[in-house]
Amino acid sequence: MSLELENLSILKQGSAIFDPVNLVINPGEITTIMGPSGCGKSTLLSAVSGSLDQVFTLKGSILLYGSNMADLPMEKRNIGILFQDDLLFPHMDIAGNLAFAIKEKTSRVEKNKIIDKALKTAGLQGFEKRDPSSLSGGQKARISLLRSLLAKPSALLLDEPFSKLDQTLKAKIRLFVFSQIKKMNIPALLVTHDPRDCPEGGMILNLNKEEG
C-alpha cells in the first residue's frame, strides 16, 4: 500500500531497458530486486530516489502513500537511501553526522537524546565524539543506517548495502538493518545480486527484458 510502482519503465533513447514493473510494498516489508549487473536494477533505484541520470526517461508512477513522487526533486521525496559505501562525512564526529539527519525544530537537548538512543540500539553507546574514520566497517555501516533513519524517511532504498562488508559481518548487519526497518514500519526496496541478502519471506522481483 505505501510504496507503489505502477507500470514503471525506464527508457533510454526511446527503448525500455526492462519490462514495466508493478510493485506494492507495505510498511515494514522489504522487497528485493535481483538481477545480474547491467540489468538496470540500480537505474530503477535511482528513478525511485529521484537521482535518475538525464539520459534516461521515466514512465509510469511512483506512489508514496498515495502521492506521486515521479516529478518531485530528490530532496522533497522523503525517501532515504543506504549505499554500498557508508559515505559518512569525514570532517564531522559521529554525533554531527547523525544530528545532520534530524529534522529542524528539535532542541539541542532532544537531539542529543535521540542520538544517544539511536547509538544504543546499534550497540555503539558513547560513540558521539568518535572520528568516523576510526570506526570498523561494520560500525560505519550501522551509523550510516542510523543516519538515514533519523531523517524519518517514509521509505528506504538499499543499494547493495552489504556488498562491501566481509562475510562474517554481512549476516549481522543484515539482521540489524532488517530489524530497524521493521521497527520504523516503513516500506523498503533492496537491490542486490547476492541471493543471501534477501530477507526471509520477502518478495523477490527479477528484472527481465523480453527478447526482441
Binding site: 530516489s49 529521484g50 537521482s51 526533486p73 530528490m74 530532496e75 522533497k76 522523503n78 525517501i79 532515504g80 537511501i81 549505499f83 559505501d85 559515505l87 562525512f89 569525514p90 570532517h91 564531522m92 554531527g96 544530528a99 545532520f100 539527519a101 534530524i102 529534522k103 529542524e104 525544530k105 528539535t106 539541542r108 537531539k111 543516519r147 538515514s148 531523517a151 524517511p153
Partner: protein, 567 residues
C-alpha cells in the same frame, strides 16, 4: 635505477632555493630598515627609518587605503567564489567556466587593469555606451572613478582578476572530494544542493584552498602594477608608495622603503592570522548551524545575483580586451560616440617597432624561466613517483609546504632585500639574476599545474618500457614525457604567462637595466596617449595567449596521426 635514487636532488634544490631567497630577501630588507646599508654609507643601527616612516605625511591614508582595498577584495572574491560554486556546480555555466578559464587567467594584470580603466573612466566606454541618450553628457563628467581616493575601482578590478584564479584552484581541489556521492546522501536526507554545498562540501573544500586564499590576501594587500594603473595616487596605497621610495633619486629613501615594506609584510601576516582565527571561530560557531536540521536556505535567493556577478567578471574581462583592440586602432574618437570616427594602424606600426626590445626581454626571460621551472618540476615529480615505487622517503612531499612561500610574502618586501644583496655581491642588473627572480614565482605555478596529471600517469607503461629499454633516461624522454606532452606544454604556458606578468621583480632586480613589456605598460599607463597604451597592453596580452595557443596546437600537429594522443 640510480637515476631515480639521485632524483631527490630536485626537491632539495627547489626547497633550498625558495627558503634561501625568501629568508635572505627578508634579511636584506630588515637591515636597511634599521639604518644599515653600507653601500650608501649607513652603518649605524637605529630606528630612525621607522620613525620617518610612521611620520611620513599621508601615511595613515595610505595604510587605510591598502587595508580597505586588500581586505575588501579578498573577502569579496572568496565569498563570491564559494557562492558561485554552490549555485553553479554541475550547471552549463560551470562547464563554460571550465573551458574559458585558461585564456582568462592568462591575461596579465597590467593589461587587464589598463582595459578596465578604459571602460570605467568618466570618458570610458561604459559611459559612452549610454551617452548622451541616457545621461545627456556631451562632455565627460568630472567624476573621479579612476584612481579614486578610496581605491574602490582597484578593489573591483582585484575581485574580477582573482575570481578566475580561485575558481581554478577550486576545480583542482574538487577532484579530492566525493562530490557526487555527498550530494546524493545529502539529498536523500532531504537537503537542497545549495545547503549541502554550504554545510558539508565547502567546509571540506576549505582546507585545500587555505593557502591559495592566503596568497590572494597577500597579493591584494601588496599589489603594485594594478594599483599604479587603477589605484589612488596621492597618497597611493602602501606598496606603490614603497616602490616610489625605492626609485627615488635620493638614495636615503631606500631606508624608508625598507621599513615600509616590512610594515606591509606585517600587515599581510596579521591579516592572514586574522583570517585563520576567523576560520577557527567559524568552525566553532557554525557547528550548531550545520546540524540545525534546516533543509532550506535563505541564501538561495542570492542565486541570480551570484550568477550575475560571476558572469559579470567574465563580461568585464572580455570587454576590457575588446576596448583595448578598439583604442589601438583608433585615429579619432569624439566623446559621446560609441565608436571611433576614423581608424588607423599607425599606432600598431609604431608600437611594434618601439616595443621590440622589451618584448624580446620578456620573451627570453619568460621562456627561460618557464623552461627551467618545468625541468625542476618534472625532476621533483619524478622523485615523488620513484619514492612511491621504492617506498623510500619522498622529499617532494615537503615541497608542498614551501611552494606557497614566495606567494605569501609581499614581492616588494623580499625582492627589495634581494636587490640590496645583489648590489653588495655586484650581481645586480644581470639578466641571469632577473630570470632567476622570475623563476621564483614561475616554479610554484608550473608545479601546481603539472603535478596532478603527472602523478596520475599510469606507471605500468613506464615499467613495461623499462623492461624493453632498460634505460631510465631513455624511457623518460622517449616514452613518458612525450605521452605527457599536453600537460607539460600547458604548464609551460602557465609558467610563461606568470613570468610575463611580473612587475616588481623586473623593477627591483632588473635595477632599471631591463624593461619588459609589463614595466613599459605600467610606466606609460598614466598620462600617455590611450592609443599607444592600448597597443602596448595588447602586445602584453598576446604573448601568453600565443603560448597557450601553441600548447594546444602543438600536440595536435606532432601527433596528428595518433588518435590515442588526441584525447
Amino acid at each position: 635505477m640510480s637515476g631515480q635514487a639521485k632524483s631527490r636532488i630536485f626537491p632539495v634544490v627547489v626547497i633550498s632555493f625558495f627558503c634561501v631567497t625568501v629568508i635572505a630577501g627578508l634579511f636584506g630588507t630588515l637591515l636597511p630598515s634599521l639604518n644599515y646599508l653600507p653601500v650608501i654609507g649607513y652603518t649605524r643601527i637605529s630606528l630612525s627609518a621607522w620613525f620617518d616612516f610612521f611620520s611620513y605625511p599621508g601615511i595613515q591614508t595610505s595604510f587605510f587605503v591598502t587595508l580597505f582595498s586588500g581586505i575588501t577584495a579578498s573577502v569579496g572574491v572568496v565569498s563570491l567564489a564559494f557562492l558561485f560554486i554552490t549555485f553553479s556546480y554541475g550547471t552549463a555555466l560551470w562547464k563554460f567556466f571550465e573551458k574559458i578559464l585558461s585564456p582568462v587567467l592568462s591575461i596579465p594584470h597590467a593589461a587587464f587593469a589598463v582595459g578596465f580603466g578604459f571602460l570605467i573612466a568618466p570618458s570610458g566606454w561604459l559611459i559612452r555606451m549610454i551617452s548622451p541618450a541616457l545621461t545627456g553628457f556631451t562632455m565627460p563628467p568630472d567624476w573621479i572613478i579612476l584612481n579614486d581616493p578610496a581605491g574602490i575601482s582597484l578593489t573591483i578590478a582585484l575581485v574580477i582578476k582573482e575570481f578566475p584564479f580561485l575558481i581554478m584552484v577550486t576545480m583542482g581541489a574538487l577532484g579530492q572530494l566525493d562530490i557526487k556521492e555527498t550530494l546524493l546522501v545529502g539529498r536523500a536526507l532531504g537537503y537542497t544542493k545549495e545547503q549541502i554545498w554550504l554545510k558539508i562540501l565547502i567546509p571540506r573544500l576549505y582546507p585545500h584552498l587555505r593557502l591559495s586564499i592566503f596568497a590572494v590576501i597577500a597579493y591584494s594587500l601588496s599589489v603594485v602594477d594594478m594599483a599604479i594603473i587603477l589605484g589612488p595616487s596621492s597618497p597611493p596605497s602602501l606598496a606603490v608608495l614603497i616602490l616610489r621610495w625605492f626609485n627615488d633619486p635620493d638614495v636615503s629613501f631606500k631606508l624608508l622603503a625598507s621599513a615600509g615594506s616590512l610594515f606591509l609584510f606585517a600587515i599581510v601576516l596579521l591579516s592572514i592570522l586574522g583570517v585563520y582565527i576567523m576560520e577557527r571561530a567559524v568552525v566553532v560557531f557554525l557547528r550548531p548551524w550545520i546540524t540545525n536540521g534546516k533543509r532550506r536556505c535563505f541564501l538561495s535567493r542570492l542565486k541570480p545575483i551570484i550568477f550575475f556577478m560571476g558572469c559579470g567578471t567574465l563580461f568585464f574581462t572580455a570587454v576590457s580586451s575588446v576596448i583595448l583592440v578598439i583604442w589601438s586602432l583608433t585615429w579619432q574618437w569624439r566623446f559621446p560616440d560609441f565608436l571611433p570616427t576614423t581608424w588607423t594602424l599607425t599606432f600598431w606600426a609604431k608600437g611594434l617597432v618601439s616595443s621590440f626590445d622589451p618584448v624580446m626581454t620578456t620573451l627570453f626571460t619568460g621562456v627561460a624561466s618557464a623552461f627551467i621551472g618545468l625541468l625542476l618540476a618534472i625532476g621533483c615529480l619524478e622523485h615523488e613517483v620513484a619514492a612511491g615505487k621504492t617506498r623510500t622517503r619522498n622529499y617532494t612531499g615537503y615541497l608542498h609546504y614551501f611552494l606557497y612561500l614566495p606567494l605569501l610574502v609581499p614581492q616588494i618586501t623580499f625582492m627589495a632585500g634581494i636587490q640590496f644583496l645583489l648590489v653588495i655581491m655586484k650581481m645586480d642588473g644581470y639578466w641571469m639574476s632577473l630570470m632567476v627572480s622570475h623563476l621564483l614565482f614561475v616554479l610554484p605555478y608550473v608545479f601546481i599545474a603539472l603535478s596532478a596529471t603527472y602523478l596520475a600517469f599510469d606507471e605500468r607503461v613506464t615499467d613495461q618500457a623499462m623492461l624493453l629499454k632498460r634505460s631510465y633516461i631513455a624511457v623518460l624522454f622517449r616514452v613518458k614525457l612525450p605521452m605527457l606532452i599536453k600537460p607539460i606544454l600547458f604548464s609551460f604556458a602557465i609558467g610563461f604567462s606568470v613570468s610575463v606578468a611580473q612587475y616588481i621583480p623586473t623593477m627591483l632586480v632588473g635595477a632599471g637595466r631591463f624593461s619588459t613589456i609589463t614595466t613599459e605598460v605600467v610606466s606609460i599607463a598614466s598620462g600617455s596617449d590611450r592609443r599607444v597604451i592600448a597597443v602596448y597592453a595588447l602586445i602584453q596580452q598576446c604573448l601568453p595567449m600565443t603560448m597557450y595557443a601553441m600548447a594546444i596546437i602543438l600536440p595536435k600537429i606532432l601527433y596528428y596521426n595518433r588518435k590515442g594522443m588526441q584525447v
